[in-house]
């Protein structure tokens, strides 16, 4: 293995634009490119309450890969690891708006918030109704009392999946906003990383970590987490990570503790070069951990859906379901990032 990842790209400064073109191609007409760097569904029904996602590029298949059937209506895409500009946000907003308003649903990062907020102000100047729900599932990024400081990580995939389903039937922006807030509130994640990805434009790793260490709680750009711990096994690490999620449900006054009988969607995400093999080995231990606590997995997601280039690491995300959230989980969906058939209910 060579020290620097060999990447199949063209102009390293142009990767975000080229990958977006490729993504539009991958949708075979279902989506189109709009403005500078947005991707939008071609056939959003009139009066649909629209769902807009977005964020920096370089984490493919999110965020822009989450546009699709029963998913997001559009995505505003930034350059590699950079929030989209206000202009891009505005262009995407104009394109997805069908007269009933637009919900912005994206990860809580300073850059994203500032750019989306300006985009929202510009859209409101054009009489487009905009609401924002931030995704802040990373429990390692701040205590539950300071959710406004938390980052959005892999939990955004089940969140957008469910919000996408909710948006199909929502009759008002209020209703979709409330649904999205509820989904976000029930979704918590913990990530770890063993090695960095590299930025295409510089070829440089996004961070450094010792060869014998794991970054516990590390974010998807390598933002340091709660501790650097010695490299360990899947069976040792998995309970440590899940303990942090359980602890957060317990300590957060806004939600109930995870308790026997709870049903969850459980997501094992790879940050890039961590193999599906490893994800599945961790899943085995995680399922055992949840079983022991009486928590049932209603559905499982597994794969490299929220990545940071060739970074290695995994994250677990838990979304606790009630009947309403199940009704958002069950429907089929299709996108480049995540697809499923309708859940078979007994």
């Amino acid at each position: 293995m060579s020290l620097t990842q060999k990447k199949l790209i063209n102009d390293p400064l142009n990767v975000a634009d080229e990958l977006l073109d490729g993504l539009v191609d991958a949708y075979d007409g279902e989506c189109v490119k709009v403005g500078r760097r947005s991707i939008v569904k071609s056939n959003i029904p009139d009066n649909k309450v629209a769902l807009l996602v977005g964020g920096g590029s370089g984490h493919e298949p999110i965020y822009h890969g989450l546009v699709g059937r029963n998913l997001a209506d559009g995505a505003a895409c930034g350059d590699i690891f950079a929030a989209p500009t206000p202009d891009i946000v505005l262009e995407a907003t104009q394109a997805v708006n069908k007269g009933n308003g637009v919900l912005f649903l994206y990860g809580n990062y300073a850059g994203d918030v500032m750019n989306f907020d300006i985009g929202a102000e510009d859209a409101e100047d054009e009489d487009i109704d905009v609401r924002t729900v931030l995704i802040w599932d990373d429990v390692c990024s701040a205590p539950p009392t300071e959710k406004e400081k938390r980052r959005g990580i892999a939990g955004l995939v089940p969140i957008v999946k469910m919000a996408g389903a909710a948006s199909q039937t929502a009759t008002s922006l209020d209703q979709l906003e409330a649904a999205a807030k509820k989904i976000v509130l029930q979704t918590r994640s913990v990530g770890v990383s063993m090695s960095p990805g590299s930025i295409p434009a510089t070829g440089m790793p996004t961070f450094n970590i010792d060869a014998d260490k794991i970054g516990l709680g590390m974010g998807i750009h390598g933002e340091p987490g709660v501790a650097e711990i010695p490299m360990t096994t899947a069976d040792e690490l998995t309970p440590m990570m899940l303990d942090l999620i359980f602890k957060d449900f317990t300590e957060d006054p806004e939600v109930e503790s995870l308790k026997p009988g709870d049903e969850v969607v459980f997501f094992v995400n790879s940050l890039g070069s961590t193999t599906m093999m490893e994800c599945l080995i961790c899943l085995k231990k995680a399922k055992q951990f949840l079983n022991e606590r009486g928590v049932t997995i209603y559905d499982t997601m597994v794969g490299p859906l929220v990545t940071c280039q060739e970074m290695s690491g995994i994250s677990f995300s838990v979304t606790r379901l009630d009947d309403e959230l199940k009704s958002y989980w069950n429907p089929a969906c299709e996108s480049i990032c995540y697809s499923k058939m309708e859940t078979i209910t007994a």
């Binding site: 400064l13 920096g56 930034g78 350059d79 590699i80 690891f81 950079a82 929030a83 989209p84 500009t85 206000p86 202009d87 891009i88 990062y109 300073a110 850059g111 500032m114 750019n115 907020d117 300006i118 390692c140 990024s141 701040a142 400081k149 980052r151 930025i199 434009a201 510089t202 440089m204 790793p205 996004t206 961070f207 450094n208 709680g217 974010g219 750009h221 390598g222 933002e223 340091p224 987490g225 709660v226």
Partner: protein
Amino acid sequence: MAKESLNSEETTAMLHLVADAIIAAEPLLSQADRDLGDGDHGIGMARGMNAAKEALAAGGFSTVDEPLVATGKAMMSSMGGASGVVFGTVFRGGKELKGSNLLDSPGLAKWLQSAADGVMKRGGAKPGDKTMIDALVPAAEKAAEVQSLSLPEAVTAVADAAEAGKEASKAMIATMGRAKTLGEKSVGFPDAGALSMTIIFSTMRDYICS
């Protein structure tokens, strides 16, 4: 020969130099962001400054606020990320000088005050959060303090204040932006955006004093 004030052409020339300095500092800025954040600050700033150079080259400015605002708009609409808004807001703060034919010490103070207020309002960060605000706010305060001095004297004091602020940021614990949770591990490194601020001010100083 030091300049007592800048007309719109000189302001434009100065901003070209600022852009060049930031573009040249790309590896340095990226490294600083790698230490604390996601390593892309230099790339983003270079993208923004290249866009700014294009806007500046298009020219047609009659008053000093125009090249400043054009720079800010170009950054805001090309960069994205935290710094796109933040540095875009800094230069768009030049709109306080609307109609001014000359940029002088009081003008500098006005611009920087507006820049600092704008950034804090937009991003919610305060001094001490280890952001570019820790270079910008001392610079703005110093500019207010020294507005009766000559422009070369004032901008030198401003650049020094920013530099001192950037140095002080080393001891701070990062809480905003990508570096949010590095916490105590961020101590010892300067903030990348603060570093950009110092490059901007020192380039302005060099132009004005030369």
